[in-house]
Symmetry: C2
Subunit: 395 residues, 2 copies
């Protein structure tokens, strides 16, 4: 962990956030004991030093603040398009700051469990997270809009909504209560619908099907008769192979191939209408962010944009080759029927409306989000869709 070693060189300075940093260390030590008992985490706390304090120059002119942050990811390094985008963020911050703004990137479980990133930011275990907002809909259900909802926005629509359509501002209002800033953090593209032992020709075929599908998608599947199963990612393959489940969804060819589902079942459905354009999220401790030098704030804002674009481009370049390998291995790629999707959409829209009726925060996002979706669909169905249908027609 070379970042930590180097962090050990930094010295503290009363002009800086050193006092705060001492508190961080105590908190980190506590968390380390609670979670892992490891040494070294304390060294990764925010550290600020006079970059040239040894040579007698005036400190007001020559001090260069040093920042060392920890980032925890919800995604293991094997999901390299996702994990790699956090690594790219860290590399760029280091490069742009001449090594003064260092972020160490950690896999889930190393310091923080995969779905506790928001908690870890709040209690100061880490300063940055790379995660998906819909993991935290148990806290505030409307956070799902920051990632995706079934039959929601496709990837470019989701990014346009977040960055240019008022989405980020609505999501920021929610995260304010957690002391967290959220930055769009990369899109997988429209996901696949997952792996099924037997073909699914109609909604009737879903009745009683044991499928691993978490979240809102699982709620919709349950409304269609599916027996929804939840289990950690590491147990899915065995469950599929031993027929404890009949189906599972994951991401898309590039990631799914690694988990080997195609060795257990052969029917690979599309599209994943419950995850039509999921955008991950970089989360930052707001107080720490606002205490950064303005140049570092700007570096962070810019570098997360690159990281997000990078992730999409990796998926868009890698999925085609992975799909071809899967097909060559005998996988049957099949579309969900229009009937199935229509029933699923009806169930989804009813659920969206019900949630909004019960929850003003949800309603506050749903209404403008639906208006954006309607306008955006009316544009994308034109030049974009007509070109796609001509250039790469679906048989």
């Amino acid at each position: 962990m070379s970042d930590h070693e180097r962090n050990g060189d930094t010295t503290h300075d009363a002009r800086s956030t050193g006092a705060d940093s001492a508190n961080d260390r105590r908190r980190l030590d506590r968390r380390s004991l609670l979670r892992r008992g490891g040494a070294g985490a304390g060294l990764a706390a925010l550290a600020a030093c006079g970059g040239s304090s040894g040579n007698g120059a005036g400190p007001a002119v020559h001090t260069r603040q040093r920042v060392s942050w920890m980032l925890t990811s919800s995604f293991p390094s094997a999901l390299d398009a996702m994990f790699g985008s956090a690594q790219l963020l860290a590399r760029r911050l280091k490069e742009m700051s001449d090594g003064a703004f260092v972020v160490s990137v950690h896999q889930p479980g190393e310091y923080v469990p995969p779905f506790e990133v928001l908690d870890a930011l709040q209690d100061g275990t880490v300063q940055v997270g790379h995660t998906a907002s819909y993991y935290y809909k148990g806290k505030v259900e409307a956070l799902a809009f920051d990632t995706c909802v079934p039959f929601g926005l496709a990837p470019r629509q989701q990014q346009a909504w977040l960055h240019q359509g008022g989405g980020r501002e609505l999501i920021a209002e929610i995260y304010a209560q957690f002391g967290v800033l959220a930055f769009p953090g990369g899109n997988t593209g429209v996901q696949m619908g997952g792996w099924f032992r037997d073909p699914v020709e109609s909604v009737a075929d879903l009745k009683g099907l044991r499928m691993r599908i978490p979240g809102f998608g699982g709620d919709v599947m349950q409304a269609l008769g599916v027996s929804v199963q939840n289990m950690p990612g590491g147990e899915i393959y065995t469950s599929l192979e031993t027929a404890r489940i009949d189906a599972t969804e994951w991401v898309g060819p590039y990631d799914d191939e690694k988990l080997g589902f195609y060795k257990a079942v052969e029917n690979y459905y599309f599209p994943g209408w419950w995850e039509p354009g999921p955008e991950l999220t970089f989360m930052v401790d707001r107080a720490r962010f606002e205490a950064l030098p303005s140049a570092f704030r700007s570096m962070f804002e810019v570098a997360v944009r690159e990281a997000a674009a990078h992730m999409q481009q990796v998926y868009d370049a890698q999925n085609p080759a992975a799909l071809k390998r899967l097909v060559d291995a005998g996988v049957q790629v099949r579309p969900f029927t229009q009937d199935l999707m229509r029933e699923a959409r009806t169930a989804t829209e009813d659920m969206l409306s019900s949630k909004a009726a019960a929850d003003p925060t949800y309603a506050r996002i749903l209404e403008p989000w639906r208006a954006f979706r309607t306008r955006s669909n009316a544009w994308f169905r034109g030049a974009e869709l007509a070109y796609a249908n001509f250039a790469y027609p679906l048989d």
Copy 2:
């Protein structure tokens, strides 16, 4: 021009590229005389100074290089999604460098004509350009692949090809002979097919049609019988209104609305199959870039990624509202027929093959590009297209 005023404060330093900078000034003075006769351009040359030379500190430790560059855009400020992305780049470089890396952003004609950006980089008039590589296919025809070719890659495919599919490396080989580095610089999305006085129901309706359509798209239209007209952007509206032309293409609703074509003719066709995912390009003087401090190189690389993503998101958010306004104003939005597009595609593929047969540089890109397109289409026709067709069906 406050950037220029501030540049006047910088001082030169023999350790730096000051000698080179003096040459730049001479060149700039010459260009200024040739092109505009303006003062001030000389001040914008690369300038490097000891940031703290006045206080006696050791220069090896305390020097902060200052860089002032000029960027010329091919796109006027009225095309604010395009021009604004260059402004965003400049703002971010200034923020991230605490004001040490300054790029002044200039409209076409201010120092450099719109389609002479590559020349202006070569002769040192500017250090950065924001343009489209296909404007320079008169120099090397294969540069068109850096932007788009008819029936080529859709926007996400084009970005995946450039960043993750080997595209940038192939384009870089061409630009190396010009001493220029190229960075993908923003996508408009699939463009519209343009404005037609009368409906175009078949290929027969194209015979003799006087249409303003430049470049490769114009070549294909000519093969289909169109009488291709070329004229500057500023003359199109009048030519359309006075019936000197029957049709024109431009970009998409957000930009086309500003030029008022809908006041002259009412048929607005889609898709613009000759520009299915055009990516603009930021170009940089390679020697200047390589002489930058490594942190500034990284800032530039990261900030162009944000600028590119930003441009796409502005178009994706603004086109829907612009399209609605046009429809409300009586515009008839119509699809090109499948027959017309099939004939155009056949002509295009023949031209691509002919160009490659005559030009090894072209062939060197065409072959892997076609392979990428085939693989990518086989993926995008699945989950992405099936979701789009369900979520926003074309009637």
